[in-house]
């Protein structure tokens, strides 16, 4: 649904996006993560046919960037970093206007559908400027979805929303995924990216890494089992002599054990620990948070700058 090959954008001497290669299939929720100033917004603007690349090529929704820009803009929905609503116009007028620009067959009916979906129908006649931050964000999301785009670019969709509203936006993203829409999600909310995204890309002017959150974790940290011991068992980590164990570390009453396949190896491990006289309180898989991994990778990236 989105492909990019060597997509590059320079502003004078400054490189904003450096030879980006991407392949995002239909129906994928793709997280695009990176620090402020990394070039995420520029990438979205490139892929949404708002600005031209300095070099490279891309297709969005099957249309060639550069040659079919207008068709691309008709096939994508963009939620910008700020809601960008006409504050003097009512919520309904805001949506109907964009519906007309996007050639939605019945803009008023489409606007009503989305205003109802986001619980804004009762306030449809009020100026958007009188809305709370969360309501404005919902209205902006409704605007991005109004024409049922094949690809949706969402820049910080839950920023400023209360937990309930943020949950409803996440549910909406899940619904869009089930409708085979492709979601390009820029967010600093790493827990949200972890929960929602099929794949994530860490980006800082160039692609740092790309993959599923689980795959990236496994690739970087392997799979680790944490065994919490009820009582101290000095030297037990040295006594563990199972062939599949890659590494054992004892810390604060816990054993952190790197394994190849925890599903089949954990039962054998637990049995052996019991044989060695360990009193086991709990066994679980150590899951490095996406935040930890992000900081780890970005630290490495800063080191290479």
């Amino acid at each position: 649904m989105i492909t990019a090959h060597g997509l590059t954008r320079r502003f004078g001497d400054r490189m904003a996006v450096d030879a980006l290669d991407l392949e995002i299939p239909r129906g994928e929720v793709f997280g695009f993560l990176g620090p402020n100033g990394a070039g995420k917004t520029t990438t979205v603007r490139l892929l949404a046919a708002l600005i031209a690349p300095s070099s490279g090529r891309a297709t969005v929704a099957g249309r060639q960037l550069g040659a079919e820009n207008q068709a691309i803009r008709a096939s994508v929905g963009v939620l910008t970093e700020t809601p960008g609503l006409y504050k003097r116009l009512s919520a309904l007028d805001n949506l109907v206007f964009f519906g007309r620009l996007q050639a939605v067959p019945e803009p008023r009916a489409a606007a009503e559908r989305y205003l109802r979906l986001f619980g804004l129908w009762d306030r449809r006649s009020e100026p958007a400027g009188s809305f709370s931050k969360g309501m404005r964000q919902k209205l902006a999301i409704a605007r991005a979805l109004l024409h049922e785009p094949e690809v949706v670019f969402l820049d910080e969709p839950t920023a400023g929303l209360d937990p309930e509203a943020a949950k409803s936006v996440r549910e909406l993203i899940e619904t869009l995924r089930s409708k085979e829409r492709t979601i390009f999600l820029c967010t600093h909310n790493l827990a949200e990216a972890d929960r929602l995204c099929d794949r994530i890309a860490l980006f800082k002017t160039r692609l740092v890494t790309i993959g599923s959150p689980e795959g990236l974790r496994e690739e970087r940290y392997g799979r680790q089992t944490v065994v919490r011991l009820a009582s101290e068992s000095p030297g037990i980590e040295r006594a563990l002599d199972l062939p599949f164990i890659r590494e054992v570390e004892a810390r604060d009453g816990e054993l952190v054990i790197s394994l190849g396949d925890p599903a089949s190896e954990n039962p054998i491990l637990v049995r052996r620990l019991v044989e060695l006289g360990a009193e086991i309180q709990s066994v679980g898989e150590l899951r490095v948070s996406l935040e930890e991994m992000y900081l780890d990778l970005m630290e490495g990236e800063n080191g290479t700058d």
Binding site: L50, I51, V78, T82, G84, R143
Partner: protein
């Protein structure tokens, strides 16, 4: 065409809810129509024929001033307002072409300016007819009518082009308004000459001003269209 029409309707809806724009569009015409009617009335009672002509010419000159001034407020808020509300990017993310955005914005200012100007002129004619039996035929000559109906669109276009260029570089509506007001002054200089001329306005002057204005409009609009490209708007505009 459908998209330009949607943009026009949106612009006018917004303008109708903006007090500053409404003031700019409605108050000045009211003042100038009132003043021109009063001047006609005074002129009708003056014995000196030269003084009478100057008063009549000045009152008619106001209807060439209005099309240049009315679009300022609409155009400024149409551009700077989008910047202030951060609505430019969502607008640019639609299938609107660069030219459609430019035309929508420009026409949204030019059309009301011309309608208000010509309506004001109509009110002025009715009022003078009622008060002094009409504008003296030797004053309201064909060249004046040609100016009011022929030069007005050019003056409005020039004003809108200049204001759009200025607004693209401004982030504050008041500053843009003030700077644009100064920038359109050269186009108004001939009007001051007409109003102080003690003889009747002739067609050669009007045609000359029209030609100069048309050339100026072509240059200004050429640059304004260049400035109104997505790439420029997103990467160069302040």
């Amino acid at each position: 065409m459908e998209r330009i029409s949607a943009l026009l309707r949106k612009e006018w809806r917004e303008s109708l809810r903006n007090k500053m724009v409404l003031l700019g569009v409605a108050v000045l015409p009211l003042i100038l129509v009132g003043t021109s009617i009063w001047m006609m009335k005074v002129g009708a009672g003056v014995d000196d024929p030269i003084g009478e002509i100057v008063l009549f010419n000045t009152s008619l000159m106001y209807f060439l001033l209005l099309p240049a001034i009315i679009p300022l407020a609409i155009a400024v808020y149409s551009i700077v307002g989008e910047k202030e509300q951060s609505t430019l990017e969502p607008l640019l993310a639609t299938p609107l072409t660069d030219l459609e955005i430019f035309l929508g914005k420009a026409l949204a200012s030019v059309i009301p300016a011309l309608l208000v100007n010509w309506a004001s002129f109509g009110i002025f004619l009715l009022a003078t007819r009622f008060l002094i039996g009409g504008v003296p035929i030797q004053t309201l000559t064909a060249p004046w009518l040609a100016a009011i109906f022929g030069l007005s669109p050019l003056l409005a276009l020039f004003s809108v082009g200049v204001t759009m260029l200025v607004s693209s570089r401004a982030s504050d509506a008041r500053a843009a308004y003030q700077f644009s007001s100064f920038a359109i002054l050269p186009a108004l200089i001939p009007l001051i000459i007409y109003s102080t001329r003690q003889t009747l306005v002739d067609l050669r002057l009007i045609v000359l001003q029209g030609a100069l204005l048309a050339a100026a409009c072509a240059i200004i609009l050429f640059f304004a269209i260049k400035v109104f490209r997505r790439e420029q708007i997103l990467t160069r505009w302040k």
